[in-house]
């Protein structure tokens, strides 16, 4: 079984917003949480999902060592770190 830590904690994210073939894109580049930094290198998948009528964008990211799930609430503009998978390779928070 894999090593998953569920956190559901608010985090600070530095993100790039740009257009690719006229499509607006967002790439969360750096995450600060609990005094540590993670630099993301790749977006696995970004998918929108609804929670009631709130739109939440789910970003599955990696820093090359572990996978991270982030949620961006389009209403409150807040980022949340949902879980870290393969957490044994991630920086210890």
């Amino acid at each position: 079984m894999e090593d998953v830590i569920t956190l559901n904690e608010d985090v600070t994210i530095v993100a790039y917003y740009f257009k690719d073939k006229d499509q607006p894109k967002c790439f969360p580049k750096r995450m600060e949480y609990n005094g540590k930094q993670v630099i993301f290198t790749e977006t696995g998948l970004r998918h929108p999902t609804r929670k009631g009528q709130r739109m939440v964008h789910v970003f599955d990211m990696t820093d090359g060592n572990a996978d991270y799930r982030l949620e961006f609430d389009a209403m409150s503009l807040a980022w949340k770190l949902v879980y870290i998978a393969d957490a044994s390779y991630a920086p210890t928070f």
């Binding site: 894999e2 599955d60 990696t62 996978d67 998978a85 390779y89």
Partner: protein, 417 residues
């Protein structure tokens, strides 16, 4: 009946995502790539693998296997739980890509669909279908992710297109038409054909048909009278020759939900709570399809393996959660004693179009409808089961909505909250 091979240009394209859920998980989580991955509906040792990555399949893991069996075969396998919104997103992307080539798109399930180019290609896409197939593969990578792969089959009918899609997995693109039909079938065994499993193979073997080529050469009379004893024999005769017999719309005849209880020794109150929850989800599906029902069927499967069911047809139609539960519990209470229920299910049948546009003369009927509409509006606004039966409240966190196999008719509904 005697028919030649269909010599028309192949215009049906079958697209099948490879190991869909496992591939999507590997796409979403790059650390899972090149590793054996199994996807289950629940994270428990007894849950069943519903999708396995190609790396897991190479180690002998098969769909339908229990998670603990998969772990014995492939100790390094990563078992992940299904994540329906993620698959829904990929499904929507795939549908959008397919619809950009032809208005005639039919999704057969969550991970496979058909583009029918008949009658539209000369106006919309005059390019060869092989080029369009290659472009779809590239667009899937560009628009969803670099790990996404799909099999594409092109044929004169749906059956041969699906058969072509299964020839070279993963990431294949094949065409079957009259020119290579015999040579392609010569490389296959009977059970490689879609729709031929052990029982149909035995039926064919009984009349001396052991290979797909012998199947192809059999007359429609032989297939009808000696093999399938029904019109299915004629359908097979036409399908194998490239004529379309599978293009038909199916109607919803029943709506229901079932659940394998987490513990077979649950109290009666807890079992009724699970049943209440199932009735609520059934009601949501029913109203989503703008239907009401007249009949209800409830079943229970016991730890001993015994199966019990009972059904009742009512004079009046019903559609609200409360009415479904009231009628379901009436039927459920008729079951034989014993608390060791392992699985329960509720199904509404005798479906009719909803009569909600017609205001009733009876005030209580109108009140029930208004109440049901108000509850649905609140749940739509704030998320499903915000307002729910008190009796099913505990089940809400236990019974999770899972991926529906086969049809995609409720997929939008299930992923909407």
């Amino acid at each position: 009946m005697h028919l030649p091979f269909n010599r028309a240009q192949p215009e049906i394209m079958h697209i099948d995502l490879n190991s869909c859920f496992a591939t999507v998980e590997q796409q979403a989580r790059p650390m899972l790539r090149n590793r054996p991955v199994g996807v289950t509906n629940r994270k428990s040792a007894f849950s069943c693998i519903i999708a396995a990555s190609y790396e897991a399949k190479a180690l002998g893991v098969r769909v339908g296997m229990r998670a603990d069996e998969a772990l014995k075969l492939a100790p390094g396998i990563v078992i992940v739980e299904t994540d329906p919104p993620k698959y829904h997103y990929v499904y929507q992307k795939l549908v959008a890509i397919m619809r950009s080539y032809s208005p005639e798109v039919t999704m057969k399930s969550i991970d496979e669909g058909i583009i029918d180019f008949n009658g539209t290609r000369q106006y919309l896409n005059a390019r060869p279908l092989r080029d369009i197939g290659m472009e779809i593969k590239q667009r899937l990578k560009d628009e969803v992710g670099c790990w996404m792969k799909c099999n594409i089959g092109i044929g004169p009918n749906r059956f041969l297109a699906k058969q072509a899609a299964s020839l070279h997995k993963p990431d294949g693109l094949d065409i079957i038409d009259y020119s290579n039909l015999r040579s392609t079938l010569a490389t296959l065994s009977l059970t490689d054909l879609t729709g031929i499993a052990e029982r149909n193979q035995a039926r064919l073997n009984a009349v001396g048909i052991y290979t797909p080529l012998q199947f192809l050469d059999a007359s429609s009379e032989t297939l009808h009278r000696l093999v399938f004893h029904s019109i299915c024999g004629d359908d097979w005769y036409q399908k194998l020759r490239g004529w379309e017999v599978d293009k038909h719309e199916s109607q919803t005849r029943s709506v229901g939900r079932q659940y394998v209880l987490e513990d077979s020794h649950l109290s009666l109150e807890a079992v009724n709570s699970r049943l209440a929850y199932l009735c609520e989800t059934t009601g949501v599906k029913l109203r989503y399809k703008n239907l009401c029902a007249r009949g209800i069927m409830v079943y229970a499967r016991y730890d001993s393996g015994d199966y019990w069911y009972n059904r009742k047809m009512f004079k009046t139609t019903f559609y609200s959660n409360a009415e479904i539960y009231r009628r379901a519990i009436l039927v459920f209470n008729r079951r034989p004693g014993g608390n060791d229920v392992r699985e329960i299910g509720v199904t509404c049948y005798g479906l009719e179009p909803s009569k909600e546009n017609q205001v009733s003369l009876l005030d209580e009927v109108n009140k029930e409808r208004w109440l049901s509409d108000a509850i649905d509006s609140i749940n739509q606004q704030y998320g499903e089961f915000t307002l729910t039966f008190a009796s099913s409240f505990t089940s809400r966190s236990i019974v999770k909505q899972k991926i529906p196999f086969g049809g995609t008719q409720y997929f939008d509904l299930l992923c909407s909250s």
